[in-house]
Symmetry: D2
C-alpha cells in the first residue's frame, strides 16, 4: 500500500489538531506540505512534525502532483473557493465546517466535487465522538426502536469575544450548527421545520451585537421524530455536551466526559469532576477518528462518512433557526431551500 | 391544639391516597366523613381507616358543622361546583387539579373562595416531591444564579385507554399540565408565550382520537427564562420524570428515583434499576407532603403553598399549547387570557 | 381474620419506631399495651398512638391473655430473661439484637423458645433493607453465580459517647454485629474463621476505653466465600452503608441512599447528596418491613425470616473478631463455640 | 535542549507500548535502538517507528555511547542483570516490574544504581493513572484528612494460562504486586504487617498448580492506616480496578473507566458500559504518563517518581502475603526483611 501524501491548508488551531492526528495515528498518510497566510511560528511547528514544505500560498499545495489529499482548515470565507480549486486539481478534500454561508456557493462546491470524482468530507467531528457514535449505532441496531425525541444539550464554558460574535453569523451558525448536524445524524433523515426562541441572558453585549446567547430550537424531521436543542454560551461548570435519543423501545443518553471517574465525599457533599473544559479536551478522540475515516474512505474508495450534503443541510437548518427567531414563527425548510 | 375534622369528597384512587396520608401522617387531623357517588367498597375501606360517616351525597359533608376542611377528589367536572359550595359553607378546600377547563368558571371559584376567606389549595403534588422541591430551594437560594433554561422530561409508562383520551382534553390537559405547573414553579414567574409540536408516534389510534402522544412544548417566561418540556405517553422503561434548571452560575438536575440503589455487573452490562413504575410509586412522598402543608396552612393561618392562581395559570398554558399545536404557531398567553 | 394484639416491652427509641410501624403499616395488628421502667413521656406518646395500657412492669403484658405477641425492646441485659418469660407465657417474640452476650444464655433462650413453640425473630433489620434484600434475591437467583467475595462498608457518622463504648462490648458487638449478620445473610452459610485488625484512629479516647474505632475484619465461610468488612466510627460525610457481593458470573453492589437524586453543577464541582445521615433515616423502610414479616410469620404460621440462630451466630463472630484483635491472629469459630 | 537517545531492551508487548508512547508523546526523546532475543517481526515493527538499530544482543545498546537511557522490558529473570550492566554503562534506567524476586539481588541492583548515579525508575504504571493519581493528589492536599482505610478492588477479566501460573510466582507476585504498590502509594508510608486469605474458587486447576485465584489481603501501615485488597483472577464483567481512600475528613473513590458514558434504558433495565476490558485499554494513559515523567526526571535531573525502593518493598509485601497464606497467620514485614 502506497502512503498517501497530504497537504494542510491553514495551520491555525484546528489545522494543527488534524496534523497531529495524522502524524501520530494515520500510519499510511504523510503530511507533505502545509500552507498558511501567516507563516510566523508555522515553520517551526511544521519542522517538529517533519513536514517538508511550508508555503504561504496554498496553490503550491494544489500544484504538487504528489499530494493526494488536502485539508481545508483556512478561514471560513475561503472554504468554498479552495475546495473548488482543490477538486479541480484532483485532490481529495477534507473541508472544515461550514463549507460556506451561501447556499448557492455550497451547491456549486458540491457540483464541482461530484464532477471531479474526488472524496469530500465535511468536518462535523462530533459524529465520531465515542459517546455519540455509540448512540447512533445503538439506535441503528434498533435497540431503542423508532426514534421519537432527540434531545441535545450544548453549552459552551465561555462566550466568544464580541468581535467574533459580530462576524460569525451568530449562535446558530458558529455553535448550534454542530447540534443541527447531530440531530440529523441521530434522526437518520432530514428536517422539515424549525422553531427557535432565544435571548441574551448571559451578556447583554451579545444582544447588542445582534445575537442571542441562550436558545432553544425545536426541529421536526421527515420520519416524525422531533428534536430539541438547548444552547448557552456560558455554562459556569464547563462544556456541557449531552445527547439523548428516546424511541419506541427505550432511550440512550450520553452524559458528559470527565477527566477522572473519582468521587470525593466530605462533610460538604459528594463531588465528582466537572465536564472536560472545552472542545479540544472533550472531542480530541473524535478529531482523530474523523481523520482515520477520511483516509480510510480514500484508501478503500468508499463514501466518506460526512458528505457535502451534510454540510449543506446543516447550514439550511441554521438559516431556518435564524429566520424563526427573527420572525417569531416556525419556518419550513422548504422556505429556505426548495429541493 | 384542637384536631381538625376533614371530609373527603370522592373516594377513588386519589381520594384514598390522601385519606391514608392524613390517617398515618397528620396527627392533628381526623377524617370524619367521606362521600362518593358509588358506595360499593367505600364503606368497608372507610371502616378500615376508622372513618365515622360515609355518604353518597357530598352535601352531608358540607352541612356537618364539625368539619373544618374538605378534599375535593371527585370527577373533574364537579370540582368547580363543589369548591364553590364548600367555600360558601366555610370549609377550607384542597381541590384536585384541574379546577376546571373553563377559565370563567375557575375565576368564579377563586372569587368565591376569596370572599369566603377559606384556604384553597390545588393538587399539584409534584411541587412537594423531594427532588423537585430541592431544585426549587437550591434555585431560590441563588446557588445556580438566575434561571435561564428549564428542561422537563415527562414520559408515562403506558398510554391511557383511548376512551379516556377522548374525554380528558388531551395530553396537554391530562398529563403535561403537571409539567406546565412545574415550569412555573421553577421559573418563579408567569409564562408569556407557548409553542408546541406533537404527533401520534406511540399509537395511531391516539391520533385518530384527536390527540398527540408525543409532544415538545417550549415556553417563554416573564423573567426571560425559557422552558422546554418533552412528553411521551409511553416510555418502554417506565415513568421518566426528570427536571433540570440551568442558570447563570450552574445547574441543578433531578434524576429518576429507583426502587433500589443497586447495580449488577455481568458479562452483558452494568445494570441499574428502571425508574419507579408510575405516579403512585414515584410521587407517594409528595402526596403526603402536600397534605402536611395543607393542614399546616390551615393551622397556622398562612397561605397554602399551591394556590388557585396556580390552578388557573396552568390551564391557561395548556390551552395555549393546544392552540399552538392546532395552528402551527407560537401563541401568546395574552391571546388566551387578558389579565 | 382476627387482629393480633401486641405488647411492646421498652418504649425507648427503637420500641417507638416499631410501634409506629405497626400502627401505620400492619392493619391486622393492634398495640394493646406498652411497658417501660421509666414512664415519663411514655403515657402521652402511647395515647397519641391509641395504646390502651401503659405499665412500668412488663409482667403485666405477659399476664394479659389477649396479647399474642411481644416486642422485646428493653435494655440488652434484660433481653434473655424477658424472652424466656414471654416464651413460657406463650407469646410470640420479636427480640431486639443482641439476644445476649453470653452464649449459654442465648442457647437457653433458644431452647425455651423451641419448647414453647412460639415464633422468635431477632431484630437484624438490615436484612429487610430494599438494597440488601435485592442483593440477596439476585444472588439467590443465581444471577451472579457462586458468591466469592462479600464486601461490606459500614461507617457511622459519629462515634457514640465514651461512656457507651465502655459498656457496649465495643465496636464488634455494638456496631459490626449488624455487618456480621449481613455477611452471613449474603453468604448463605456459616463462618469458619475470623481475622480482625483495628486501631483508634478517630479518637484516642476510644482506645483508652479499651476499644478500637476503625477495623477491618475478614471472614471465611463454609462455602469458600470470603467476606471483608471495614468499619469506622466516624465518616465525615455521614452514614456509609454499602454492600457488594462478587461471584463467578458477576457482582451486585448497593450504593448509599440519599435524600434526593439531584446533582448540582457549579464552577466548583458536580455535587450530589451525602448519604442519609444515620440509621433511623437510612433504615426506616427496613424497620417497617421486618415488622410486616414478623406478623406475617405469626399469621401464616411460617418460619420467621431472622431466627434465634442468627442472633447466636452473629455474636459468635463478634467474639471471634474481638479475640482475633486481642491476640493478633485468625480465630476459628470452633475455638469460640463447638457445635 | 538536546534530544535524548533511548534504547529499548525487549520488544515484547510492554516494550512496544513504551516505544509508541515515546514516539508519539515524548518530543525530546528518540528511540535509537531496540534489542530482543527473538527478532522475528521486530525489525519490521522498528522500521515503522523509524528506529535505526535493531539488535539481538542488548549489549550493543549498552555499548552505544550516544544512548542516554534504556528501558528494560525483557523477561523478569533478566531485569536485575541488565539493570546492573546498564547502570555500570552509565545509562539511565526504566525497569519493568518486578526488578527480581530475590531481595538480595534487588538490593544489589539498587546499590549499583546508586553508585553509578543514574536514574532508576520502576514500572508501576498505575501510579500514573488519571484516577489513582487524582486520589493521591487529593489525599496529599489534605482534602480527606489523615488516611485511615485504603480499599483496592483488583480483578482481572480472565485467569492467565496454568503454565504461566506455575512460573509467575502466583497471584501475589504477578497480579497483586501492583495493588501492594498502590496501597503504599496511597498510604504514603511503609507496611508493617500483612495477612492474606485465599482459595481457588475460579478454577480448581489453579489450586492444583499451587496458587489461589481469589484472595483478600489486609495490610497495616506505619501511620496506622489499614489497607484491604481483594483480588480475583476472573470478573465476568471485565477488568475491575477501583480504589478508595477513606480518611478523617472524608473519602475519595475511583470508579471504573468505560468506553463511553452512555446509558441505555429499556424494558429490561438501565444499562451502562462494562469496565474497559483489560490493562492495555484501562491503563494506556498511565503508560504514556510514566514515560513522560521518566524522561522529565532525566532532563531536569530530579528524582524519578517511582524508585528502586518501591520495586523492593512491593516484592517484600508479596512475600509476606504468600507466607501469611501458607502459614495461616499475619506476617510482620520484619520477618521477611530486616532493615
Amino acid at each position: 500500500m502506497k502512503k498517501m501524501n497530504v497537504g494542510i491548508i491553514g495551520a491555525g488551531r484546528i489545522g494543527r489538531v488534524h496534523a497531529e492526528s495524522i502524524s501520530y495515528h494515520i500510519p499510511n498518510a504523510t503530511i507533505k506540505a502545509v500552507s498558511d497566510v501567516r507563516l510566523d511560528g508555522v515553520k517551526e511547528w511544521a519542522k517538529g512534525l517533519g513536514i517538508e514544505d511550508v508555503y504561504s500560498d496554498y496553490h503550491k499545495i494544489l500544484e504538487d502532483k504528489e499530494i493526494d489529499a488536502v485539508l481545508v482548515c483556512s478561514s471560513t470565507d475561503t472554504h468554498a473557493q479552495i475546495s473548488i480549486e482543490a477538486a479541480e486539481a484532483g485532490k481529495h478534500i477534507f473541508c472544515e465546517k461550514p463549507i460556506d454561508y451561501d447556499l448557492d456557493r455550497i451547491n456549486h462546491v458540491l457540483e464541482v466535487v461530484e464532477k471531479a470524482g474526488v472524496k469530500f468530507q465535511v468536518g462535523f467531528n462530533r459524529r465520531f465522538d465515542h459517546n455519540f457514535d455509540r448512540i447512533n449505532k445503538v439506535t441503528k441496531d434498533g435497540v431503542i426502536g423508532e426514534p421519537h425525541i432527540i434531545k441535545i444539550t450544548s453549552r459552551d464554558p465561555e462566550p466568544p469575544p464580541i468581535a467574533y460574535v459580530k462576524v460569525s453569523g451568530g449562535i446558530f451558525f458558529d455553535m448550534a450548527i454542530h447540534d443541527f448536524d447531530m440531530a440529523r445524524f441521530q434522526a437518520g433523515c432530514e428536517a422539515t421545520e424549525v422553531y427557535a426562541i432565544g435571548d441574551s441572558l448571559v451578556d447583554p453585549e451579545i444582544g447588542k451585537a445582534g445575537d442571542v446567547d441562550t436558545a432553544i430550537t425545536t426541529i421536526k424531521f421527515e420520519n416524525g421524530a422531533m428534536a430539541v436543542i438547548d444552547n448557552s454560551r456560558r455554562a459556569a461548570y464547563g462544556y456541557d455536551q449531552r445527547v439523548e435519543v428516546f424511541g419506541s423501545k427505550g432511550s440512550i443518553e450520553a452524559r458528559n466526559d470527565t477527566e477522572t471517574n473519582t468521587i470525593i465525599r466530605t462533610a460538604d457533599n459528594v463531588a465528582s469532576d466537572k465536564p472536560l473544559y472545552f472542545f479540544l479536551e472533550r472531542y480530541m478522540g473524535s478529531f482523530v477518528e474523523e481523520m482515520k475515516q477520511f483516509f480510510a474512505a480514500i484508501e478503500n474508495d468508499t463514501e466518506p462518512p460526512v458528505k457535502g450534503i451534510d454540510g449543506l443541510n446543516s447550514v439550511i437548518i441554521a438559516m431556518a433557526a435564524k429566520k424563526s427567531l427573527d420572525e417569531g414563527r416556525p419556518v419550513k425548510i422548504s422556505e429556505i431551500y426548495a429541493v
